[in-house]
Symmetry: none
Subunit: 444 residues, 2 copies
């Protein structure tokens, strides 16, 4: 089928935004998207420069009196390591048991492409017209925190003026059970560097007399939580808003609970804050996670040194009404207040994004529930997601736009992990959802 | 002078054991040593094969009723790079300000050759007889970790039967201040692996609900010490012997203290066990050091995952009467008793070596102190070293021999570094020390 062929072509671009060696591939992918949009009936489509990697910006034919929908997606993908855990080459998509396996399959090429197919088909049927004015904004830096998008939105406020944003970069509740995501956690990414001796030194000659920066780092990281799983950083919970009782009731009825999280992660037991439910832990409670550790000798065998340095990558997930800057500052102060034993500590705030929340009684939500009901018989759940979509917060703060988050992926699609998947059938379902939703939004 | 000429000839062999291109030079050097020993009155001297590079084995005329001394040295040297930092060609010895500058000058050709000169002169004076039965064992693989020596000792136990081993491969305290090294720390090397989720998973989707193995590892490592710097592993100090009050008094008077350790490491402050002196911390107290940390994403920027695994390389330095196997087992039990939050823990003991201690009231020490007093007016300090010298542990475990460690080099002789030196006067002082020491050992 031509649509699958085109989807596979899209997946074959190794558009890894985190790795400079792949920036050429990111750009080639953008150019391919532009060409695809032009040949599939969009009024205009351009590769537009930013301070970093380009965005693809396209528009349908506009008409007065129709709402303008800003459909956002991203064509960049996560790195692929550890490569040895992939069953197939990550940029050579294959279909296994109805699932497309490739890096970016669900996050976000598959979900985006379903919408694009819906739009292209509607344009064909409706002779060049969509029921709404459509702006397509496809980003190339989402997986590195959208560093250039804010400035791009700022610089093109007029061109991007719209009534509602639409993003499919979240997840359904389960196969056949759609969801509208009303909230997202924010994020603050930090790096922590601990410097001990001036160079790696002999652990026999000097071990025991000077601080070991890897051990100091371990104690710093251990200090971030108490024994009940709560974050022990002073003031960290100060600004947070609890979910409503109705939200909590809805969450309690979802099929996605402890067992599903254990199955999805392969973890042997739950952990984290003992005092709250598992969905609160991932949706409405902040976290501080260690994403990486580096120190000393990591090769085969042993090297008996006191290493010169140790470092950790951290990311905090944030909930309304925390801000990344304030959260990073609290973490920095907390770490600096710990015993450093003569080591030098450097805490660097790298980037972040605000949390997001859309009220459940918004008309946009009602329109989305109606459209979803046309495609899936089971009513859409109102959920949140624990991850960040920085662009949603930027749409709010820069363009004043609320965002409808309607996921087309499944919880077990392995976004960011080896062997990422997207159900092939969701290309067609997503295409229909796009068409139903644009019609309903048109009537608001 | 003939002795200096011969010393320079010895230094000119580029006997670098680490570099296969120099293995011919290593062998030529061994053959030269053998010939020198024969022409200087040893009863026998042979180049003996091992699984790797040869040893030179020589014997004096043996007589009943005299103690047998096994004098060990090594004729291989460290590589010379970075060559551009040398003031002269490393294998063209020169004398500058009374210092012989050449690779191997102190480590170990100079210290060894002083002994050989003492023996040759004594043989000449005493008409072919030494006061002791002497076995000379000169190794060609010390700088690569003595990989073949253990098997050689095992295979020639009878031939190497002796009463005491004598090694000059350590350091004096300062010019004019000799030292006897009475103790060396042992070592136990381990790896700690923590497995969390089955694969790296999205820290937004799952962070907060499942254990993060990097955070669990940090808490495990943090649990190894208490806030006073003491090891918190139950039973870890159970078997250890404290240094004597006399040893401690001697250590307190040494010029090598806190400032020297800070200068040598570039550390900003001392750390470790607050309750004991800095020399106890490096010489007579056990340690557990983190030698390396690995987890998750270590590249540029951020990757927001809960990593699947986290691991640490650990090495414990051990003191009498700890054993590496027992120490590793205590660490393993301690770690397994910590909260793992559903993570799987694997603690692997890699390898180790026993600590070494020669009692300060041993007659060997008394003999060495007496001999040193004949050469240097300042009494010899009894010191230890924090590192392991594998050959000493092999002499103990394979041949059942104690070892007298008497350094003829100085702390600033730049062993292993460019512009390595040996004080020319130490050839003569070492020669006299050898003669005084063999006489005193003969009378035990």
């Amino acid at each position: 089928m031509k649509e699958i062929e085109e989807f596979f072509t899209y997946l074959r671009f190794p558009s890894i935004s985190a790795q400079p060696a792949h920036h050429g591939d990111v750009r080639t992918c953008a150019e391919w998207l532009r060409d695809w949009l032009i040949t599939h009936g969009l009024e205009s489509a351009e590769v537009r420069e930013t301070a970093g990697l380009p965005v693809v910006l396209a528009r349908s034919k506009f008409a007065k009196g129709r709402p303008t929908v800003l459909l956002y997606g991203h064509y960049d993908v996560q790195p692929v390591d550890p490569l040895e855990l992939w069953r197939h080459a990550p940029f050579e998509p294959v279909i296994e048991d109805g699932l497309v396996v490739a890096r970016g399959a669900t996050d976000n090429k598959g979900q985006t492409f379903a919408h694009l197919l819906g739009i292209a088909e509607a344009l064909l049927v409706e002779e060049g017209e969509l029921p709404v004015n459509l702006i397509l904004l496809l980003e190339g830096e989402e997986e590195i925190g959208s560093p250039s998008l804010g400035a791009f939105l700022e610089a093109h406020r007029e061109e991007l003026r719209a009534d509602i944003a639409l993003v499919s970069d979240t997840s359904m509740v389960a196969p056949g059970r759609p969801a509208i995501t009303t909230g997202l956690r924010g994020i603050a990414c930090l790096e922590v560097h601990v410097q001990g001796p001036a160079r790696d030194v002999h652990s026999g000659m000097f071990g025991g007399a000077i601080a070991n920066p890897a051990a100091v780092l371990a104690r710093l990281l251990a200090s971030l939580h108490d024994e009940t799983g709560r974050i022990a950083v002073e003031g960290f919970y100060g600004d947070i808003a609890d979910p409503t009782a109705e939200e909590l009731r809805g969450w309690a009825e979802l099929p996605y609970q402890e067992a599903e999280i254990l199955a999805a992660t392969g973890s042997a037991a739950l952990a984290g804050e003992r005092a709250v439910t598992v969905l609160e832990r991932v949706w409405s409670r902040p976290t501080i996670e260690v994403n990486g550790l580096t120190s000393g000798y990591q090769g085969a065998g042993s090297k008996t040194i006191v290493p010169a340095t140790a470092s950790a990558k951290l990311s905090a997930r944030l909930v309304p009404h925390q801000t990344p800057e304030a959260a990073a500052e609290l973490i920095r102060r907390h770490l600096e207040a710990q015993p450093l034993e003569g080591c030098r500590l450097r805490v660097e705030y790298d980037h972040g994004g605000n949390p997001y929340l859309l009220s459940a009684d918004s008309p946009w939500i009602a329109a989305a529930q109606g459209a979803l009901a046309e495609v899936w018989p089971v009513p859409a759940a109102l959920v949140r997601e624990g991850l960040s979509i920085p662009v949603v917060e930027k749409f709010k703060s820069i363009l004043g736009l609320d965002t409808l988050l309607i996921g087309l992926g499944l919880p077990d699609c392995l976004a960011h992990s080896p062997n990422e998947t997207f159900p092939l059938a969701h290309l067609e379902l997503g295409k229909r959802l796009n068409q139903c939703l644009l019609r309903r939004l048109a009537s608001l």
